[in-house]
């Protein structure tokens, strides 16, 4: 075990894969000489050279599109969107070319797109989004969203080994805030949920940075036993783990940092409404960012992003129901 930050864990996974498998290459804007906007690939170009650590033109459609081409002829490209928001510029290649390829012609596209996402630091409307629901709605793309350093590494290894397009949602706010023990070497974390803290009175279902908000908000809630379920994977969604938590806790708060409408949490809520109804002792409660672009100024941004206080209040209300 080594103690790594979330960012160091992502770097370590990429470095391990580049060392282990010559098919792996990383590509994106400013990832080579500069080492990436967040320094995830710092120093990579010196170890692996410019052919495997590719500084690309500023062209997201081209990053995804050429990665698809490289993938279908045997490479394992890992693309970086400098910010997840820019996936909108590469969306067509991702959802129309990559996602539908295997269904249409049995041709696998082993492609990973890393998407630094999320808000909380005045990134404004174009550097703070959580676009995972866009991706979840396109059949053929897997979507994972780690909350810990250990899962970040294990999920990235699993994503690179997966024969399908995988979108890896890495939360920018966790990069240097989260640190935990990470096993040495290459290991795979399955695309399933994880119980971040077991409990019996209520479950908060979350993923990514919101797992930490959920843990903090429910750490000391008048002696109640609150479970936190970390989804880790949004596609596939771990239906069994979700329904199991609901069955044990009977009360559920679903937490998204993304805008509320059609968010991952909405899908979880629908699943529980249809298949977990008999186990519920209260309404399914959702906490999410309202349907508004993420504002720049700190008081405005803090007003929209789910806060520890908001989550705590939602849990208290539901516990009293």
């Amino acid at each position: 075990m080594t103690t790594l930050t979330y960012l160091q864990a992502i770097s370590a996974a990429l470095r391990d894969e580049l060392r282990a498998d010559e098919r792996v290459l990383v590509m994106g804007e400013d990832i080579g000489v500069f080492g990436g906007a967040f320094k995830v690939t710092d120093g990579f170009i010196d170890e692996f050279g410019p052919d495997r650590v590719i500084d690309t033109p500023l062209a997201e459609s081209a990053i995804i599109g050429t990665a698809i081409g490289a993938a279908v002829v045997g490479m394992r490209p890992v693309c970086e969107m400098q910010f997840s928001d820019f996936i909108s510029c590469g969306f067509d290649q991702l959802v129309n070319v990559a996602a539908k390829m295997h269904y249409r012609q049995s041709l696998a596209v082993p492609l990973v797109v890393r998407l630094p996402s999320g808000g909380g630091f005045s990134g404004g409307p174009f550097h703070s989004q959580n676009p995972e629901a866009w991706l979840m709605h396109a059949p053929g793309i897997k979507v994972v969203a780690p909350s810990t350093a250990s899962d970040a590494k294990g999920l990235l290894h699993a994503a690179i080994h997966d024969p399908n397009p995988v979108c890896f949602m890495e939360h920018k706010h966790l990069y240097r805030r989260v640190k935990d023990d990470v096993p040495e070497g290459v290991f795979e974390t399955p695309f399933t949920a994880r119980i971040a803290r077991p409990g019996t009175d209520l479950v908060v279902i979350a993923y990514g940075a919101m797992v930490h908000v959920a843990l903090e908000a429910t750490e000391d809630l008048e002696g109640t036993s609150v479970e936190v379920l970390d989804l880790r994977s949004l596609v596939p969604l771990d239906r069994a783990a979700i329904l199991d938590s609901v069955a044990r806790c009977s009360k559920v708060v679903i937490l998204d940092e993304a805008n509320a409408t059609c968010a991952a949490g909405a899908q979880v809520a629908a699943l529980i409404a249809q298949f977990g109804f008999e186990d519920l002792d209260g309404p399914v409660v959702r906490v999410a960012t309202p349907d508004v672009p993420i504002p720049f100024s700190p008081p405005l941004e803090q007003a929209v992003l789910p806060s520890v206080d908001r989550v705590r209040e939602a849990c208290r209300e539901l516990l009293a129901y």
């Binding site: 033109p57 081409g69 290649q93 129309n96 295997h102 249409r104 012609q105 053929g140 024969p163």
Partner: protein, 349 residues
């Protein structure tokens, strides 16, 4: 600008040095198969046996036949919807093509996609999507991988005049130019993007843009199959020698509507009549007849092949509805792209 009638180029003459008689016959055969299969598929469409709509490449057969013929088995292609001859040259059988049109289980996509939206994986082709020209980037990425691995291989894709207006055209041309990749872009200028004529599509002939991206752009008579072959052969050689991409503008004419429902009333009749005189199939037939080839016998053999293929395709089963949600994800080992068939005698050393 390459509107209207491009003058025939000298490519046909230059090609003769690289083409044996058997090659020149194969080029005609591929075009005859394309024309015959599309005629048959149109009939099947009118009989209600081809679902959706139907798109063909009548009058443009030389563009795909000539270019595909110059590509080696280990090269990789992304083929556009008016380029059926490329699939034929690559090795897709007429039966599978007709089964594909009819949404049968034995079609290339097993009924998952229609029309010419397919690429035979085992023959090294990646099927197009409707968003054009997305495949320019995929071909560019394949070429990038070839170059990274130091392989002597090339990628080729076709796209239309309308495609040149979209950002992916620029992104692919720029990327391929920056990285000097072994990729061939065949711009199939067939005068109309659906109903939109060239003068509403661009202010400057897009072949001129190649220079701005740092590589060769040339205009070829797209109705001359041997000229298309020769331009592609030379472009491939340049790519393999590290000379980077080539943009080949194949000037041709879409002689039918955009799809079966389109009566083409926006196209002046004289324009169609002028182009009819330059039919690519007739031109190649004339060349070969002058060399003593029995063109009638070739036509008869192609017709018989299509007849048999139709019978087989009509007998093929429809896909099982219970499998409609299968295969969204790859489970287990991925099947790689295979190699196509080498048709050109130049590959059979």
């Amino acid at each position: 600008m390459a509107t209207g009638m491009a003058e025939p180029t000298a490519g046909g003459d230059a090609a003769v040095g690289h083409l044996k008689l058997e090659d020149r016959i194969w080029l005609l055969r591929a075009m005859l198969l394309m024309r015959g299969l599309e005629e048959r598929a149109m009939n099947l469409y009118r009989q209600g046996k081809v679902p959706g709509s139907f798109y063909d490449g009548y009058g443009q057969e030389a563009v795909s036949a000539g270019a595909a013929f110059a590509m080696a088995p280990e090269d990789r292609l992304c083929i556009l919807h008016r380029d059926l001859a490329a699939h034929i040259i690559r090795g897709v059988t007429p039966t599978r093509i007709l089964a594909q049109y009819m949404g049968r289980e034995t079609g290339i996509t097993r009924g998952r996609d229609g029309n010419v939206h397919f690429g035979a994986r085992e023959l090294g082709c990646v099927g197009m999507v409707s968003m054009l020209p997305d495949m320019m980037l995929v071909a560019t990425g394949m070429a990038m991988a070839f170059k990274l691995r130091g392989e002597r291989r090339c990628a080729l894709t076709w796209f239309g005049d309308g495609s040149t207006s979209r950002g992916d055209f620029h992104e692919a041309m720029n990327w391929a130019g920056v990285q000097k990749l072994p990729v061939i872009f065949v711009l199939e200028n067939n005068q109309y993007a659906y109903s939109t004529p060239l003068e509403k599509q661009f202010a400057v002939d897009p072949v001129e843009r190649a220079a701005a991206y740092g590589f060769v752009g040339l205009t070829v008579d797209g109705n001359d199959v041997e000229a298309m072959f020769e331009a592609t052969r030379a472009a491939r050689e340049r790519a393999l020698e590290g000379g980077g991409p080539t943009l080949i503008e194949a000037v041709t004419m879409r002689m039918h509507g955009h799809a079966a429902h389109d009566d083409m009333k926006y196209v002046p009749k004289e324009q169609v009549e002028q182009w009819r005189k330059r039919d690519p199939v007739e031109r190649q037939e004339g060349r070969l007849a002058a060399l003593g080839v029995d063109v009638e016998a070739l036509r008869a053999s192609v017709a018989a092949e299509i007849e048999a293929a139709t019978e087989d395709a009509l007998a093929a089963p429809m896909p099982d509805p219970d499998t409609a949600t299968d295969g969204v994800f790859c489970v287990g080992e991925a099947e790689p792209l295979g190699d196509g068939i080498a048709r050109w005698s130049g590959f059979q050393l």
